[in-house]
């Protein structure tokens, strides 16, 4: 697919889920081995056109996630490129042991996409929010975890994940009309973070929807004379240790994620940091290890200090 201003804007308008469906459709045109498996979520995952265009590449397993992962594994073992998708909690937790055995232990190459992860479905309650997926999957050896920063990166992640030699999980956060982080085409490599903005006082390591919010925070911080680096940690596992190593001169490190503060990007960064003799302090910005009352997406982002303004405030408080 051509990446230009128009397509980037279109991706952003339709949001991560519709981008997923569109991306799968584009990839399937040139890849005879791609098959897509869902659990009765073709519309939610933007896959209605895919289903109609490629009925022989589309399998709906009904509302049965454990079976979906098993069936995906059987197909992968017959050399198909398999994409599975459903809402993030069901994609990662309902079938967690199947993921452990089939993708982890057996190393079968499947690309799982968790749609509407994080807090975006907050009005539906925490059954449908997902603040645990990264923590859970990170503990299973061999699974690559990608959290795209915007819709363009969703497309790029999917393209790379389907070519990746091992199993992958793509975590989609945000909603339609989601902010554009990557304004022009760029090189996306799994495991290689992208430093979007340089700065020497503070480094913000962010993933998914929080990359944009961290850029917003950086604007405020710069106005307050705090030089801020923003790193798009789109791959949470394997972690880009080199960029952390190169950020040790900062006075403060902050990890920012639309995920529980336990188990996710913050934990991953901290696991590496703690092996270093000299290191700056790290603060964890994320959902505060609680199943709280639900609400609209923006409301919950505010509540958990996950907006540019709140992130900047937290950093400034530490820097005083």
């Amino acid at each position: 697919m051509d990446i230009n201003d128009k397509s980037i804007k279109m991706f952003s308008t339709i949001g991560p889920r519709a981008t997923l469906g569109l991306s799968a459709l584009e990839i399937a045109k040139n890849d005879k081995d791609l098959v897509v498996l869902t659990c009765d979520v073709s519309t939610s995952a933007g896959l209605d056109r895919f289903r109609k265009t490629f009925p022989d590449k589309y399998f709906d397993l009904g509302i049965a996630e454990q079976n979906m992962i098993g069936v995906a594994t059987g197909l992968a073992s017959e050399n198909y490129k398999v994409l599975t998708t459903t809402f993030a909690p069901f994609q990662t937790m309902r079938c967690c042991e199947q993921i452990k055995v089939n993708l982890g232990y057996m190393k079968q190459k499947i690309c799982m996409v968790g749609i509407a992860s994080g807090l975006v479905l907050g009005t539906l309650g925490y059954t449908h929010c997902c603040i645990e997926d990264v923590g859970i999957l990170r503990s299973i050896p061999g699974i690559t975890i990608i959290s795209p920063s915007d819709s363009l990166e969703t497309y790029k992640s999917l393209e790379k994940a389907l070519k990746h030699p091992g199993p992958t999980y793509i975590r989609l956060t945000g909603k339609s009309n989601n902010p554009i982080v990557n304004k022009t085409d760029y090189n996306f490599e799994i495991g290689k973070s992208i430093t979007i903005k340089n700065g020497k006082d503070v480094t913000l390591f962010a993933s998914g929807s929080m990359v944009f919010q961290s850029l917003q925070a950086a604007l405020i911080l710069e106005q307050n004379k705090i030089s801020t680096k923003v790193v798009n940690m789109h791959t949470i596992k394997p972690l880009d240790k080199e960029i952390i190593e190169n950020s040790l001169e900062s006075e403060l490190l902050a990890t920012v994620e639309e995920h529980n503060v336990m188990g996710g990007l913050g934990s991953a960064v901290s696991e590496f940091l703690t092996t270093k003799q000299k290191k700056p302090k790290q603060i964890f910005i994320g959902v505060k290890d609680i199943y709280d009352k639900g609400g609209e997406y923006e409301y919950l982002l505010n509540k958990h200090d996950l907006t540019g303004e709140s992130i900047a405030k937290k950093v400034m408080l530490e820097m005083q």
């Binding site: 399998f59 049965a64 079976n67 098993g70 069936v71 995906a72 073992s77 089939n102």
Partner: protein
Amino acid sequence: MKSSSQESINKIKIFALNIRKKILDMSLIAGADSSHFGGALSIVEIVSVLFSDIMRINKENPLWEDRDRFILSKGHACLAYYAALSEIGYISNDELKTFEKNESNLLGHPVINRNLGIEFSNGSLGMGLSLGIGVCLGLKKKNMKNQVYVVLGDGECNEGSIWEGAMSASNFNLENLTVLVDHNKFQQTGSNDEIMKLDNLREKWISFGWETIEIDGHDIEKLKYFLAKDKEKKPRAIIANTIKGKGFSFSENNNSWHHAVMTKKFYDQAKEELEKNFKL
């Protein structure tokens, strides 16, 4: 039922005899670590008919694309599986002796190793049927004629994922799929009736849209007949009524042999019984 030639039945009987001998040897090797003895013995005839007669196999090439696929969903019964793979030449007798030893390819539950003929890692119950469904869908999509055989335990049918799979296999009209339920009436800590009633398994599989047959799972002739029989355009379930620990007086229907230590005394007794009871 058209009877098979005595010669072909005798061949399977000898295969089954050899599997039981190898199960005994491996369980003795496992020593104090013990092994899943009873549930392996109940599937000996099932795997023997499949591996020595029914399945398309290339003895020179375990990776042969046209091979039929075998999935041991009740992975703890791997003694019978490893023995069968050894009988067809994929696993050497020396390798069998590594059963459950450090760094072995042959642990107490199968670990995927296509060079040895082990199609998938199994052991966590309730997962093998879904794997088989995925393989069947993939084969059908490529217009390949291979058959897929999945062996389930009856206790394993407690798992909800089995019924997710059962529902979807008939939904996709998978006529290339056969499930054999090893219905030995026991599970780890008691009988099916004591732990979780299965009631009429046959009716359950019929109601999920499967062609369902219930037979004596130690009757080689019947197994061969129904496994070879032309299929309807739907998946087939064979409820194989079996005896846990089949073959030895001390272990038959004795659930303490679910996972037990094989002593030299029992080993010698079992060897003696095998020779004495074997008839062609």
